[in-house]
Amino acid sequence: MEQLFQQIINGISLGSIYALIALGYTMVYGIIKLINFAHSDIYMLGAFIGYFSMTTLKLGFVPSLLLSMVFCTITGVVIEKVAYKPLRHATRIAVLITAIGVSLFIEYTTMAIAGANVRSYPPLTGILTKSFLLGNINVSMQQVIILGITIILMILLQFIVKKTRIGKAMRAVSLDSDAAELMGINVNTTISFTFALGSALAGAAGILVGIYYNSINPLMGMLPGIKAFVAAVFGGIGIIPGAMIGGYFIGIVEVLVSGYSNSLYRDGVVFAILILVLIIKPTGLLGKNSREKV
């Protein structure tokens, strides 16, 4: 029983990471119907910038976190302006291929600059090394911090989306970008802002992973990216609370499967969940059905 709770605690940490990444996928899909394949590489960049910040610049955790988030935000916005905006009215496949191109470009450029090897984050100091016992369950401060930061970011995100004008603009553009434009909303700015938010969250996830799991490499984004995407689909692609729920669900399931059975099946279970969702309710947990008008 205790093992179960321990696994769930671990799952919550992993789930936080997936949730942060999934939010970026879901927001971008919601607003321009694009599966942003490059998103997982922004996450990877967050991890690398965090690494660079903590080793070369010798900054502390919080400044590094902020630096990662800022860098990723800028990268995300630049990618959107340079690669996706010209294809706003192109076919789905064309944008998808472009996204793949961007993803490969980021991966291989990082490899060229930083080498393909796995790097380890510098040894942690101070509060990051502590842990405490909850009954018989071991909870590390890292896990608390990951959960804490994730919750803070999610609350901020909800605030922005629900209570600010730009948030309202984001919701409007996801529903009908032409109508939104006619109502005076600057669609381009809104889309850029969406990318900025999603990328910031991914960047945060990257550095958190660096601290928690310790090792990073240029291709680290692939598998977590796909799983976070499954999480977004599970919760309902395009729906922000869905990504949050989905992230935690996939994280906890993955840890439980890994803990209680053959860990090679861990990844398979995630994809099996994907297939089940798509067959039973493709619009996801919180999604609504929409029909084409004939």
């Binding site: 294809l87 191109g101 490969l104 470009f105 798509l278």
Partner: protein, 323 residues
């Protein structure tokens, strides 16, 4: 009124024979050395993969991101058969069994997933291919898991490659030009209208998917018999993307586009082998640039036709009325 062996048929036959003979000669005189022969094999395999994916995605409009999954089925089945029957009949059986198994899996995967549209279908096919890969990874006793299968007997030579590649191109082109092929295309154009005109869209989507899977299985079998080592990693998401890129760059809905793109990319990859990292950076940049400036790819949905040669020929004929 059309003759059974019309002029088009003869043109095709002649070009096929010429292609085969010319390249065979180049091989025999070692102008195409064994390194280039690998490239040739890779190009042929990619042509088969691209043309079969084009049938599914370009002509029938079903967005499939899992084509490498079918390739892996063909590869493993063929490898397992030829490892136990290292003879030419074994090879033929291996390819056939690989293709048929892939096709069967194609039906099984296709039936539930082809109800989905657009992005959802893409994700589902991606998930399916990953599940296939993970299954192969875990079937240690049969597939040797992550270590892969090695020393697979090598049977492919130019003759076999040519046979299968030309066969794939001809069969799929013929299919496209038939009423069944047109039914598939109508689904791409407007599924609701197609259904209203009597086309069972689910049936034809699954048909196209299965045919595509069949030929992907052939490609996988050829891959195993050429490069004599396979492991699950080879047939991951990256491979599916590579094939899709060839199809898109060549032009969705253009068979000749897929062929040209596969050849071009194969040649470029070979020349840039030395600069591996730079190659990938350039490749990714070109993807972005080409999609921005020419999203319809090289040929759009048009086909390269031999009429170019007859138009050239016209300029050499004496004009009527002149001496």
């Amino acid at each position: 009124m059309k003759k059974l062996f019309g002029i088009n048929w003869i043109k095709t036959l002649v070009s096929l024979i010429l292609t085969f003979v010319i390249i065979q000669l180049l091989i025999s005189f070692n102008i195409i050395n064994s390194y280039l022969q690998s490239t040739l094999a890779a190009i042929c395999i990619n042509i088969i993969l691209a043309v079969s994916l084009n049938l599914i995605t370009g002509f029938t409009g079903q967005f499939s991101l899992g084509h490498a999954g079918f390739m892996s089925i063909g590869a493993y089945v063929c490898a397992l058969i030829t490892l136990r029957m290292p003879t030419i009949p074994g090879f033929i059986l291996g390819v056939l069994a690989g293709a048929i198994t892939a096709a069967i899996i194609g039906v099984i995967v296709g039936l539930p997933t082809l109800r989905l549209r657009g992005d959802y279908l893409a994700i589902a096919t991606l998930g399916m291919a990953e599940i296939i890969r993970i299954i192969f990874l875990n079937m240690d006793s049969i597939t040797n898991g992550a270590a892969g299968l090695s020393d697979i007997p090598q049977f492919t030579n130019w003759a076999w490659l040519f046979f299968y590649t030309a066969g794939t191109i001809i069969i799929i082109s013929n299919f496209i030009k038939s009423s069944h092929g047109r039914a598939c295309i109508s689904i791409r154009e407007d599924e609701i209208a197609a259904e209203a005109m009597g086309v069972n869209s689910t049936r034809y989507k699954v048909t196209a998917f299965t045919i595509g899977a069949f030929f992907a299985g052939i490609a996988g079998a050829l891959y195993a018999s050429t490069f004599n080592f396979i492991d699950p990693k080879i047939f991951g998401f990256s491979k599916s993307i590579d094939i899709l890129v060839i199809v898109v760059l060549g032009g969705l809905g253009s068979i000749s586009g897929s062929i040209v793109a596969a050849i071009l990319l194969g040649i470029i990859t070979t020349y840039l082998q030395a600069f591996a990292n730079i190659q990938m950076i350039l490749y990714s940049l070109s993807l972005i640039i080409i999609m921005i400036f020419r999203p319809q790819g090289l040929m759009g949905s048009k086909e390269l036709s031999l009429s170019i040669f007859s138009r050239l020929g016209e300029s050499f004929k004496p004009k009527k009325g002149r001496v």
